[in-house]
Symmetry: C2
Subunit: 416 residues, 2 copies
């Protein structure tokens, strides 16, 4: 940050890490330096427990939006009001993957551009916040990421670990749960890379004094039934009102129970945590906290509800129907993610604008048998954008087979 290391030395070093890796000591020291290039959320030790969850990014991954109100509700009740806090600094989507901030911002007025001080105040008042990275947080990571992006050194697992952790450490956490995605729609395409990343994240977190758990979870098909920004927020809302995709529920319960278990400091085992979470899912308190999540940061939930009910004036909804009969459906996370991205729901570079109203809602579950002309998806896109080519691209996101494909388990592995 002082300029003493020129970019051309930094990139040579990055490439060396790419091919040579880092040992545990190097990973720890480097992560620490990256973190300390910036500021952290100020914290007095008052016996409370700060926890976050981090996903490596996927398609339709909306779990954070459910987990925060859900855990806030339970922990207040079971562990004492305000004892557990959720300082969530999230990222934006890039390419075919979505980002929590983009989803939150589909609610008109919602602001996630808060300083650390403003975030701190929110955390004190409400026990959580949902904000974006600021220039104060790990500035070295931003500079280095730009160099990695320009030198094909993004894929290095030790560099990914230090990049993720440098930002998470700024949250002054006690514990963290990682959701390492693996599959077509994930950054990690194969199990062994995902396991390596998961183990590395847990080990590096522990070296920095955090409690940590990582789940390696499947990302070959989208999570839940919606892909896009506003549609995912809406799915979360309906989820909390009782209309739940079973896989999304499974993932929420899995991640949430590990978070709750860590925060309870041994008071609850995983089984009890699961039971507590399932019970809390149907409470009105949860729904209220979900709405507060937006309103605390200036989001106009009622305006959002109105738009979702009557539809945006500039967009239209198309029913996409099965082109053939008696076949089993599967939906590819990468392809449907790219399709929504290309319709305007994603961005190519960090400075691109996003269209929050674009998205796809799956009407059939992956693995279901479908008859010809049955509706399989409702898609929202800008008026005039629908064409034969766009339809063909959408059709390619769905695969058909005579046999139900053997579905991979949702949770592949848990690293503690």
């Amino acid at each position: 940050m002082s300029g003493a290391v020129p970019d051309y030395q930094m990139t040579a070093w990055l490439m060396a890490v790419c091919w040579r890796g880092m040992d545990s000591r190097e990973q720890t020291d480097w992560t620490h330096l990256m973190w300390k290039s910036g500021k952290s959320i100020p914290r007095q030790s008052t016996g409370d427990y700060w926890i976050d969850k981090h996903s490596t990014g996927g398609v339709g991954d909306k779990t954070s939006l459910i987990l925060v109100p859900l855990l806030r509700t339970i922990t207040d009740e079971c562990l004492g009001k305000g004892r557990v806090k959720f300082p969530m600094i999230s990222g934006r989507g890039l390419g075919h993957t979505g980002g929590t901030l983009d989803k939150l911002e589909s609610v008109p007025g919602f602001s996630c551009r808060l300083s650390l001080q403003q975030s701190s105040k929110l955390l004190e008042q409400h026990g959580f916040f949902m904000v974006g990275q600021t220039d104060e947080i790990a500035p070295a990571d931003r500079r280095i990421y730009a160099l990695r992006d320009a030198t094909s050194t993004v894929d290095s697992i030790p560099l990914i670990i230090s990049s993720i952790l440098s930002k998470k450490l700024a949250e002054s956490l006690n514990g963290i749960v990682f959701d390492v995605k693996v599959g077509s729609g994930a950054f990690m395409k194969n199990q062994s890379d995902a396991t390596e990343l998961a183990k590395g994240l847990v080990a590096a977190s522990k070296h920095q004094g955090l409690e940590a758990v990582a789940l390696v979870t499947d990302m070959n098909t989208p999570i839940g039934t919606s892909i896009g920004n506003s549609v995912e927020v809406w799915e979360c809302w309906e989820f909390l009102k009782g209309q739940r995709d079973s896989e999304l529920e499974q993932l929420v319960i899995a991640l949430g129970s590990h978070m709750l278990s860590l925060a309870s400091n041994g008071k609850y085992d995983l089984k009890s945590c699961e039971a507590l979470l399932l019970e809390a899912l149907s409470t009105l308190k949860c729904q209220r906290t979900f709405v507060e999540m937006f309103e605390n940061q200036n989001g106009d939930w009622h305006e959002f509800e109105k738009i979702m009910a009557k539809g945006s004036a500039e967009h239209e909804e198309i029913i996409f129907r099965a082109p053939q009969s008696g076949l089993f459906l599967s939906c590819d996370a990468l392809k449907i993610g790219k399709w929504v991205h290309q319709r305007g729901g994603g961005r190519n570079t960090a400075s691109d604008a996003i269209d929050p109203w674009v998205g796809a809602i799956l009407l059939k579950k992956c693995g279901e048998k479908v008859e010809k002309d049955e509706p399989i998806a409702r898609v929202r896109l800008r008026k005039g954008d629908w064409s034969e080519q766009v339809e063909l691209q959408l059709a390619e996101a769905f695969q058909w087979s005579a046999q139900p494909s053997s579905k991979k388990p949702l949770i592949h592995e848990v690293i503690v």
Copy 2:
């Protein structure tokens, strides 16, 4: 060279090559690009054969100064006047290794800063030239070398190969003989690296259409009896007048016979070449050509002879004697090279000036049994530079043992 690739991408790529290597096609294409970033000596195809010799650098390595006049003499006689030409673009010394240009420049007035056009004219007139690299030759190599130097990517064998060849290809050669040094005083410290470099140089040369041979030769002890600039020129002169160090002779004959054999296009086998060379070594013609080598490029040989005879006014000569009795001597190439370098005979950066009069002349051969107080070296250094510490450092360059150490063979390997 157009600026389209920023330095930070170039260095990342260099580091990737460092750890990943290059395959044969990559090596060929990259070398070609480096070469074509600059100009070459213009050449009409008139049936002549252009050949050079390249050493990877050592201590006391003066073979080029002998090989050029020697081969010029023989080829004119045996293969036809002017049929073989020796366009020699040489380098300067860096650190403990010497450079041919620095040695040549110890002759007052000698100029090696010639343009390609001036060099071309010399080659036409005299059949050889001894010049330095100009900005016209492989400018990409110079820019990339500066980046390699700043990013610890100098040691990469594929990058060394392309760097060497890009400059040699500018000589528009038909054939080349490489002397790849291995040992304490060489860039390559171990045999396997040296063999890899030698094989790579030969393969890459052949891919560019050149005939090529590489010798892997020992560089644990200095070559010949003198180390330094003027003293090495003088050793060559005495060598041609009949006072020959046997190892230097062996190396000259080995390198020279491969050069002559290539240039003869099958007319002479290696055995005949060796015989021809040994015979030519004692001719007056050879001595005359040696002096011409300097005079062609404005060097004042008589002035040089005068200084060597009466000594330089600013320097003194010290006799260094054996500190103990009845032990076998060995001299470490790296340590004696560094000692001369530190006395002013070498440079740390390319822009440093060199003191041509500083040097060491070994009076005993490595492996010889020496009695206490016998003179083992005459050293020349700046007046006032001699001190107890300088003497101690010099003493460290010599090792003593009760048994004669088993000397490594001079020629380790020949790659054709």
